[in-house]
Every structure is written in C-alpha cells, then in structure tokens.
C-alpha cells in the first residue's frame, strides 16, 4: 500500500509537471504548427526569475509569479520577432523551427551558465512541508502544482474560446490566408500567441524548479518528455495530452520504483514508440488526410 501511494503521489507530481509543459506547447502547435524545443529556456527563465526575485533582491514571494509572467511575455515577443518570424517566411517551417529551437535552447542554456554559474541553486518559491497520508508524504508543492495546472488550463480554455485574442488565434490557425483576407494581422496574432505561450511557460518554470532546483539545463528532459507526450496523445488534442501526461507520469514513476530510476524514461519512450508504430497520429489523434 505504501509503495502504491508513493508511486501515486510522485506520479501526480511529474504528471502535473508534464501536463503544464504540454499545455503551453500545444498552444504553439495549435497556432503555428511549431514544436518548440526552446521550452527549456523558458522554464529556466522562470526558475532564475524566482531565484533572482526572492534570493538576490529579497523581494516578497508575492512578486514572483507576476515577474515570471512579465519576463516570459517579453521573452516570447523577442523570440518571435528575432527568430520565428524569419523562419516562418521560408519553406519547411515545421522542421526548420525544430533545428532553430535546438539552437535557441543551447543559446539560452549557455547564457544562464555565463550569467548565473553552473551550480544548482535552491529555488525559494516552494512549499517545504507536506501532507502525511498513511505514512507517505504528499508535498504541498505537488498539490500546488496540480491546482495551478487546472487553473492555467481553465484560463487558457477561457482565453481561447471567449476572448477576441483567442478567436483571432483560432482563425489564423485554421486558415492564415482567409484570416488575412478578413483583415486580421497574422504576424501580430502570432506574436500575441507567442507572448501568451511565453508567460505560461515561465510560470511553468517557477512551478517545476520549485520541486527540484534551478540550473541552466533544468527543463531539458521535461521539454522532450512533454513533446513526446503531445505526439503520442495526438497533436492538437489538449485534453488527451493532459490525460497522457498523467498516465505516462504514473508509468515512469512506477517503473522507477519497481526497477530502478534508470529505466523510467526509457520505458516511457519504448511505450511511446510502440504506440506510434500502430497509431502514427497518436493515441487519440485523428487521421490526417492529405489532399493533393
């Protein structure tokens, strides 16, 4: 029973971590058809902003989330206008942007390494204690992250369905040319989507680094895992993505506890590969028909 609860709780922790990554990344896939490997830079940005805010200038914890939000916004804007816009103009965007975002990820990692040093820092925006259930500790950080995932998901769903920004983004993602003819500024709406993504991703960074520590390459694994979760769930299907994040989180943690922590990620990847061999559009994905 103990080990079962242990697996459940840690699976919940990593699952909500993947879910919050998948949430932000699926927004970008939905708008631009872009798989962003530079997500790790945004996660590290959130972590370092929290560290800077609370440990370096000794500000209150109250400012951490707004500051992360703002920095993610600015970062998303810069990223869009310096890189993505130009690559979108060339052919083969969906693959080129992966190469470019690998470069951005390396650039971000190197920048943080030079600015803050390579050692792991304790990120102060976190809950230290936990809830004790039948001898197993459920950290408050996990509960907090889980609640934040739900809040962020609701906020994003509201923005996408109700607000004008969401309408514009959906219109552009369905057909950029038609949207342009209706008088929508496509570039501007991409930039807005990127800024929305950036702010969500930086908040994610604060949450994720709270559970561990913050170092330059902190989000690398989580990014790749969130991306393969999105792929195996079927891209563009957000609810399936969240479900898959928790399912694979439980699988990974179960393997970690039963067979040793080396085999968590490999077994998860093996599962994903087997699923994709039989369902190349993902578990819940619809078959895409290519018309010539």
């Amino acid at each position: 029973m103990d080990i079962f609860l242990q697996i459940l709780f840690s699976g919940l922790a990593v699952g909500s971590m993947y879910a919050v990554g998948a949430l932000a990344l699926s927004l970008l896939w939905g708008t631009m058809g872009m798989l962003n490997l530079a997500h790790t830079t945004f996660i590290a940005l959130g972590g370092y902003v929290a560290y800077f805010c609370m440990s370096v200038i000794d500000a209150s914890w109250f400012f951490v989330l707004p500051l992360a939000f703002l920095s993610g916004l600015v970062m998303g804007y810069i990223y869009y206008h310096l890189v993505i816009r130009h690559i979108y103009a060339n052919q083969n965007f969906s693959v080129n942007i992966i190469i470019a975002s690998v470069a951005i990820a390396a650039l971000g990692e190197n920048t943080f390494l030079n600015l803050a040093g390579g050692e792991a820092l304790r990120q102060p925006f976190q809950f230290t204690s936990g809830l004790k259930i039948i001898g197993v500790v459920l950290p408050y950080q996990t509960i907090f992250t889980f609640i934040m995932v739900i809040i962020l998901m609701v906020i994003m769903a509201l923005i996408m369905s109700k607000s004008k920004l969401g309408q514009v983004i959906r219109a552009v993602s369905q057909n950029p040319d038609a949207a342009k003819l209706m008088g929508i500024n496509v570039q501007k709406s991409f930039a807005q989507a990127m800024m929305l993504y950036g702010s969500i991703a930086a908040i994610t960074g604060v949450l994720v680094t709270g559970a561990s520590q913050v170092f330059p390459s902190v989000g690398g694994d989580a990014t790749v895992k969130a991306l393969i979760i999105l792929i195996v769930a079927g891209l563009g299907n957000l609810r399936a993505g969240i479900f898959m994040a928790f399912a694979l989180g439980f699988l990974e943690m179960g393997v970690n506890y039963l067979f040793g922590s080396r085999y968590g990620f490999p077994s998860m990847l093996g599962f994903v590969i087997i699923v994709l061999l039989f369902k190349p559009n993902g578990f819940f994905g619809k078959e895409v028909v290519n018309r010539v």
Binding site: L35, A100, V102, A106, N110, V224, L227, L277, P280
Partner: protein, 402 residues
Amino acid sequence: MSISQISILIAVLGILVAIIAFFWGTSHSTKEFIKIDNRTSNVWKDFWIGMILLALALIFPAFGAGKYLLSQIVLFFIWAAVVTQWNLIFGIAGIFTLGHMAVFAVGGYITSMIALYMGWNLWAALPVGALAAVVFSFLLGATIIRLRGPYIAIMTLAIAIVIQKLIVSDVDCFVTKDLICYNFTGGAKGLFGYGNFGFKELLGYKGKIYGEYYLSLTLLVLSTLFALFVIYSPLGSTFRSIRDNEIAAGSRGVNRIKYQLIVFTVSGIFTGLAGGVFAGLQTTMGPNVLSLSLLLFLLSMIVVGGRGTNWGPLIGAASLMLADTILRDFGQLRVAGLSLIILFAMIFLPNGLIGLLSNIFNWSPNKKENEDRVSIKNFIKSDRSKYLKRGKWIKKFGNENE
C-alpha cells in the same frame, strides 16, 4: 594556436572555396537540381573538385604544419565523414533525424568494447563496430517508420537522449580489476585502455600524427565517394523523389517504407566506421559524443554548408571547424557562438553556403531585366501577337527595338 597558423588555415580554406566556386560555375541549388538533371556533367565536375581537394589534403602535412593543427584537421576529417553520411538521410532523403550521433556512438562504443573485453585488435574491431552501427541505424529507422517531418526529429532526439542517460547512469560493476570497478559501458567516465591503432610503434613518436592524419583522410575519402555514389545512383534519385513529393513518388510505385529503411542502413556504414576510428584515435570513448552541443555542432555543419548538396556538408564542416577554433579562445561562450551561427544560417542562408556561392556566381547586374525584355519580345513575336494590334503592345511595354 598562433596567428600565423590561423592565417595559413584561412588562406588554405579560402583557396579551397575559390577553387570549388570556380568549378561550381553554373551551380545548382537543391531545387534546380531536379529541373536540370544533367547527371554526367555533374559527375565530372564532382570528380575534379574531389581530385583537387584530395591532392591538397594529401600534400598538406608536407608544409610542416604543427601537431595541434594536424590533430584539429583529423577531427575535421572525422566530423566531415559523419556529416556527409548524415546528409544522405537529412538532406537527400529529407528525413529529419536528430539521432545520427547515436549511430556514431554505437559504432565507437561497440568497437572499443570488443577491443577491451574480447582483447581484439582495434583494426579487427572496426568492421564489427560498423556492422553494429548499421544494425542500430536500421532499427532507428524502423522505430520511426510511420512518422512524418517534425515528429521524426523529436522522436530521434528523444532516443539519443535516452541512450546517453542509460550510459551515464550505468553504475553496475562489469569487471573488477585491482578493487576498481569498471562499468559495462564505462558510465560517465567513458571507456579507456583498449589500445590504439599502433601508429606509435609503426611510425615512431613523431610520425604518429601523420598516421592518424592519413587514416582519417582515407575514411573521409571513402565516405565521400560512397555518398557521391549513392547520390548519383538510381537510389539517390529515389530518395530525392520521396523528399520532394512523397505522394507523386508513391503513385509512381516508390515504396516509402522500404527506401526509408534503406537510407538509414546505407548511411550507418561509414558513420559506424567513423565512430570506430574516432574511438581509436581519441583512445577514450565517453557519453559526451551524445551531448547536445556536439549534436548542434554537427547539425550546423549541414545547415551552414547546404542541405542536400553534394559538397555542402564538407564546406560546412570546414567552416564550422574554423569558427570553432576561433571560438575556443572565448571559452564559455563557444556554444552560444555556435548557436548564433546556426540561427544566422537558418535565417539568412536557407540554402547554405553552397546556395550563397551559386547565387554569387550566377549573379549578373541586369539579368532580371534581360529576362523580362526577352519574354516580352518573345510574346510580341509569338503567333498570338499577330492578332493583336502591334502598336498598342509596344506602347504598353516599351519599344521592341530598344
């Protein structure tokens, strides 16, 4: 590395680029290649480029280059050999795999493991390592057989990361010698102590570097020959047809799955050999060959040189190695510099340096204007224009005799 050496290097590379550009003349970007498929003349052009480069590389050590410079060139040869093979998948067949360094690592690891645990000579272990790399490359191709474009990039990257994690986290003792525990894959420390190619005994302490130089040069020459052979064979045409229009290729009876597996298998051969040669020359084999920065380094060689071109990877490898030797002085900023280079290449040179060269050599000040004028002239002279009022058209588009 002194300034004079750098200047020699730059001069040599400049001459190389000039010669290549001279022979390129009426060059083609990837798209034009399909349009003007004048294969035989291209074969001869590539033959002469290759011969000149080979001659230069063969006599280069005679100029009395230093040991450091030669060892950098040895590394360049190995990376160029890997990149030409990667280009077969990435550029020619258009399958965007990021897991090619895993194939390289399998070649190197299997070679060194066989030498270490079974006591084989490294020369004998080389083909076995290459075979293992071929098998691994085939499996890598098979795991992503039904995926497309960006999915492939993410999945192959994930596979490479998982392999690196498995190697780094390997702590079980496989052999225990003198109370020191040795892991099966060497763990984070890497494998060492499996011998070398024996150049020291054969050529003496001073001649060792020349042996390494010519070995890696042989590797590069063979792998380039092989890549060119694949590119010009019917196989290469099939790969390009799948890359350019999969549906059209499919309707002509091209089996995508079969050829995807073939291209992965084919490119595994020399990648695995390069891995083995790398392991033998470095005398250690560690998990850092799977690191993100090395992946980025080799990827930028393809992107900067020109994807899907015959000599693009080679030029990319040369320019990136040159940039790397300069960036090495900046220490920590090296990776940042590399990523800036790759970003600049992606934004400003979508066809790579080869595309830039061909643009420069095909450029003429009034080419576009000439083309416009010719087309209007043709239109006026064409049959249809007989039925039009001549004067009206000339008024509109300018005088015919101008």
